[in-house]
Each structure stands twice: as C-alpha cells, then as structure tokens.
C-alpha cells in the first residue's frame, strides 16, 4: 500500500544534547534518556507500549522545540551542544514543539568553551558545526 504524506519536506526544531565519545567518534546523547543519536542515519522513535511512535495519546517520540528561546526557557541551553534538527515521518505538533518519528541534526552549535568538539562532531554527523554563546544565542 502506498502511503501519501500529508506534507513534503521536514519540520525543523531545536534540541540540546550531551556529547560522549563512543567507538572513537563524538556522538550526541539525549539529555533525558540513555540514548545516543547515530551518525549517518536517522534516530527513530520507539515506544515501550508496543505501538508505533509517536502516538497522539502517548508521550513517545523524538522531541524538539520550536525555537532556541524555548530551549532557554526550560534551561536546555546549559546542557551542552545545541542544534537544529530535521524531523519527519509521523509528527505530533505542539504549541512549543514536536514529537517526531525520525530526526537528524541539521546544524550544531557548540558553546565556546567546548570548541574542541567542533571538528569531531562535524566529522561524525557531516553537518555544519559552529560556535555559539548559549546564553545570548550569538553565533560566531
């Protein structure tokens, strides 16, 4: 059966991550869950309640905020690396963000003090990585 999408393209949201080195590569780790974001392939949501994720009446899915300002409001800007992410597949929109089925970083922003992560993250994910002041949003 051919499934026709409701929209074409991706939603673009904002996230914060921790960074850990795994297998010699710098990888993004979820701030909340013990889950890393694979390099070169999308992260796919799953739910322990045995239904396709994300589902409307659940809390599952890959989360992203609509803006950096919202990330700052909930103090995610202090967590480490920030970034814009492509979201696609099944998407549950909210007033402040989305829960999505698939996601992949679009652009990463590294705080000035963590400048050593710029090259390793660029090598891992193949996306632009720039320095940011996470408190003001100023990008260099």
């Amino acid at each position: 059966m051919i499934v026709v999408p409701d929209k074409i393209g991706t939603e673009v949201g904002w996230r914060g991550w921790n960074v850990r080195v795994r297998g010699g590569r710098a990888l993004l780790y979820s701030v909340v869950h013990n889950a890393f974001w694979p390099a070169g392939e999308p992260i796919e949501a799953f739910c322990g309640k045995a239904h396709a994720a994300p589902a409307g009446r659940c809390t599952c899915g890959v989360y992203a905020a609509r803006s950096l300002a919202h990330l700052r409001e909930i103090a995610y800007h202090t967590q480490g690396v920030l970034g814009e992410v492509h979201l696609w597949g099944t998407v549950v929109p909210g007033r402040l963000g989305w829960r999505a089925q698939y996601a992949y970083p679009k652009r990463l922003y590294v705080p000035h003090e963590s400048y050593r992560l710029v090259a390793p993250l660029k090598a891992s994910y193949g996306v632009p990585v720039t320095l940011i002041n996470p408190y003001t949003g100023e990008v260099k």
Binding site: P5, E11, P42, W88, T90, G97, G126
Partner: protein, 43 residues
Amino acid sequence: MNIGEEDEQYTIEPLENPIPREEPTAPPEPAREPERVAEPVTT
C-alpha cells in the same frame, strides 16, 4: 521537554534525504621523487 498543547498528528516526508552524504575524498597525490639536478660534467 514540554511541547505544549498538541494538535492532530500528520506525516511529513523529505523531498531530499536530510542526511548528508559523505563527501568523496580525493585520492592523495602520489609522492614525487625529488627532482634530480644534472651535475655539471667537467672534462
């Protein structure tokens, strides 16, 4: 992370693959031997 009040879900599919392809890297140039300068012939 709070995403606020939710609306109905939908499906969205990218027109292009959002995952960057690895850039092909140019093969390294073969090392060249240093040029030899002909020594002057003295007779």
